[in-house]
């Protein structure tokens, strides 16, 4: 089975993150950039499938030069190689443009399965898997908390707010995963050493047959016009107990889906 895993470098969600004042884009220069957390679960799932069914796992990243660090980190967990889409025209590309570029890159790899995190912690759009499936003509199995493969048949438990749905499809498919699906491994020292020597294929837009006017600030269908800081935390809900306090509490917890 040939698997492509999407890996995105994002600002560390554990530290303070900002948008830039000039173009409203994510401020990557001042941040500690790491692998998007959910992508580690995608890598782990791909490696487990490879261990069970054989095949090849390729990491695919679109990002600036320094995304190389995240690619090496991803490779140290065990994938066989990586493709890095790197082009000066890419900054500013929105979801649609990104999906165009990634779909073109995936097309050159002809995988049976594309696995990605259900969302990235920087923009949290949760749309990339659907867009890619649409562009590639693959099945879209999104928000998985469990994935089983039997031959060319994929079965996914799709996590919802109330529980889960069982969804099946045949390969090729795009599967996006939540952090409930597995426990990602830590790289071993051997993996860290081996990652240095694994092939990373750098591709430009021209290599992928995507023209520069379809990406970047100019080629994007959406524009962020302004941004503001998150408002200060509000005071919350106070329940005064006049005999119905318990019910009110449970109603609140239920409305927030805690119970």
């Amino acid at each position: 089975m040939k698997i492509v895993v999407l890996v995105k470098q994002v600002p560390d969600s554990g530290a303070e993150r900002n948008l830039r004042a000039d173009d409203n884009s994510v401020d990557r220069a001042s941040a500690n950039n790491v692998i998007n957390e959910m992508d580690e679960y995608a890598i782990e799932e791909a490696l487990r499938l490879q261990e069970a069914h054989g095949g090849e796992v390729t990491v695919l990243t679109m990002g600036p030069d320094r995304a190389t660090e995240s690619i090496r980190k991803a490779l140290s967990m065990g994938p066989d190689g990586a493709v890095h889409v790197l082009d000066d025209a890419l900054p500013g590309t929105d979801y649609l443009g990104t999906s165009r570029v990634l779909a073109a890159a995936i097309g050159t790899l002809s995988p049976d399965l594309v696995i990605c995190g259900a969302e990235a912690t920087d923009a949290r759009g949760q749309v990339m898997a659907h867009m890619l499936a649409e562009r590639l003509g693959f099945a879209a199995l999104t928000g998985a908390r469990k994935l089983t493969v039997e031959g060319a048949q994929l079965t996914v438990e799709r996590q919802t707010e109330e529980g889960y749905e069982v969804v099946t499809a045949a390969t090729p498919a795009v599967v996006s995963v939540w952090d409930t699906i597995n426990e990602p491994r830590y790289p071993s020292f051997k993996g860290i050493m081996a990652a240095k020597k694994k092939p990373v294929d750098t591709k430009s837009l021209a290599d992928l047959g995507v023209s520069a006017d379809q990406v970047g600030w100019g080629g994007s269908a959406t524009t962020v016009l302004s941004h503001s800081k998150r408002p200060a935390r509000s005071a919350g809900v106070k329940v005064t107990d006049s005999g119905e306090g318990g019910v009110a509490l449970v109603d609140y917890l239920s409305s927030e889906k805690f119970v």
Binding site: R72, K73, S76, R185, Y186, P187, S188, F189, K190, G191, I192, M193, K196
Partner: protein, 390 residues
Amino acid sequence: MTDFGLSEEHRELRDTVRRFAQDKVAPVIGELYEKHEFPYDLVRQMGAMGLFGLPFPATVPGADGDLEIGGMDGDYLALCLVLEELARVDSSLSITLEAAISLGAMPIYKYGTDEQKRRWLPRLLRGEALAGFGLTEPGAGSDAGGTRTTARLSEDGTEWIINGTKSFITNSGTTMTCLVTVTALTGPDEISSIIVPSGTPGFTVAPGYSKVGWCASDTHELTFVDCRVPVDNLLGKRGRGFAQFLHILDEGRIAIAALATGLAQGCVDESLKYATQREAFGHTIGSYQAIQFMIADMETRAHTARLAWRDAAQRLVAGEPFKRQAAIAKLHASTVAVDNARAGTQIHGGYGFMNEFPVSRMWRDSKILEIGEGTSEVQRMIIARDLGLA
């Protein structure tokens, strides 16, 4: 940023283990420590990360071609970095790994026959099994010449018959323990090392000690009563048991220094966290110079301890003499660990005396560092002798 000449891979390993310690060890270790439970699950995860095979090669030359022992092809510097990062959060796991490698696998790797290496090393290096080293006895610690345990050959010459008691033996009583190497008198003034597999009749493991610190690590007294093992279980040369062990101890000192540095740094981490949260007289206590100076001194001590063990480790890796530097690193880092634990506990006030605060665990774990693998006094003897004082 230069970092004592660490390679990118060394830094990557250190950062990976730092993440493991924070995400996996920190949330559970307090409870295991309180219950004196060995952290099997964490040890297994460390095995999967290849930590138990770090300073060993993947293969070693044997008489009939290369033997696959399954090491990670790392070096001693890599191991020490890992020990420091683990001890920054918890010393029990760090000493478990240190002893498993330095005292468990290393003697077999260095002095074992092809058959001994083939039989034991792959499981030890994968972290699936643990080995202990029985040197210390109730009446013989720093002065290993006081060894009373004996091993005599059976009349037909096919077996060693071992009698004696060994004290404070790390990793000797877990369900993963597969063997203990014991030093024993095999003649007048002749000490040899012999491998005793777990479960050998006559070999008894006493219940775990009640220890002040390192409470999630495994330590037992061992007794041998007419315990018979095959004559081939001799490890290394007959009569060289003591010399072999001294060499192993030199390396182990650097490892303990790295562990002590981790504990010292962990005290800084915990104190910084606490000083920026706890308020007194209307301000966080970290805004008072008395606390600031204490933390500045703690950081200074941790930093110099790190410089000392890195220097010794880099000499070792480069194949240069390191005996004096290892003793200096061990002496200094263990002193620093005790000093930082005392200061960190003081900064925490009453909470520093509560077991649920990591800094109190570090305080309890610090004292043994001035005692184990050569007391501070022994380190001073080594340094003085190396300076030509006799």
